[in-house]
Amino acid sequence: MIETQTNTFCSCCYSKYTLDDIFCKNCGYPLQGTKHQQDSFISDRQIREIELEESNKKIKSATNSLYWIAGVLAFWGIIFFAMNQDSGNDGFVIFITNIILSISFLALGAWSKTKPAPALISGLSLFVIIQILNAVVSPISILSGIIFKVIIIGYLIKGIKGVLEADKLKKELNVD
């Protein structure tokens, strides 16, 4: 029979515990452990919390890079349109394509606030496919803005990894 009478609160997570509990049932804190055990438990948990914060930062940067892609696409669409106004239909087609893609990345950016994993994976796949298709049409295009492209892809991959890391850390901390 489990004792329901509560006496005091856990000094780690402030949930109630009973006197015969050896460990906190909410956070695993060694309630009857030595001072050393309790300290190392707290510091271990703090390290995980810092790691979780870092993973969330990675996700945030990846989200921001979706907006950066949207901005750059819209910018080049407008520049291209302004420069090729007299060349007729082709300039317009590229302009419209860039605007549609830019809106797609804005939408993915907004979506990544609630569902980071599908939004970031979709964004990365779309970005990679755009680069490959451009390279098929004109192979030299892969070199233009190569640094920007590599940085963006790096941020997106780190963001996706961040989602998985945050997921694992939340389970280790046993929160949510």
Binding site: I2, T4, Y17, D21, I22, F23, C24, K25, N26, C27, G28, P30, V93, T97, I100, L101, K115, A117, P118, I121, S122, S125, L126, V128, I129, I132, L133, V136, I160, K161, L164, D167, K168, K171, E172, N174
Partner: protein
Amino acid sequence: MEDTENLTKVCHNCQSEILTSNHYCNYCGQTQNAEEIETAGFKWSNLQQLALFFVVQVLLCITPAIIKENSIFFNLSLDVVMAITTLIFFGYSWAENKYLLKWPAFSLKKLLLFIVIASLASVIVQYLVTHLNLILWNKTQSYYDTFSGHPYGKYLMILSIAIFPALFEELAYRGYLMQKLINIFDEKQAIYISSFIFFIMHFSLISFFWLLPFAITLGFIRIREKTIWYGVIIHFIFNLTACLYELVDYDELQHLLNSLQ
């Protein structure tokens, strides 16, 4: 005092009786979600395998654009290569995928309903796409051009456009890809990601309005029915209708209708 809300379970580590709501065992400190933590460790390497799948698919889909060849032989050999790669990926994760090949709750009524909806949707989409292509780019899109030179062109076209994609795209996207994603994220996110990748793999911005809903619908059906066969048949009927839409001779049809009256 008896409290029915306080359900108990046994801690895996010390075998003492604890409440099911406990995050940790209050006697030995063992975390109660050890299995979830363990599976979380494999997720990144599973995602890397999916990245490989994605790259292979992109390379295969892009081959016609690089080689600029459009013969019947080339098209069919590409179909065969895609089929083999799909089978390799699907077979590599055979243990977790094999349940999809079963058809647990076969319902003829449901199947017929899906077939009717798929063919109707396909006619509407074909009509819209033909007109959109004319309005926007002033061009007509034809699948039959490639196959028209061959005596059995029509059958080869149906093989290459209706049968191969229906079977192997379903095995690849609703089968392998989706199953891996379910293990990494959850069912809803798996549907969204696999549908989006299915859509962009067609390299056609304009088909956004029907490819995404199409893929999401197939995804939901696959999750609900726990089989890929509804998807395979819907996909087959959808593509077959698209083929027939192009192949049917409208003058002859008109003639036939007139003679009936």
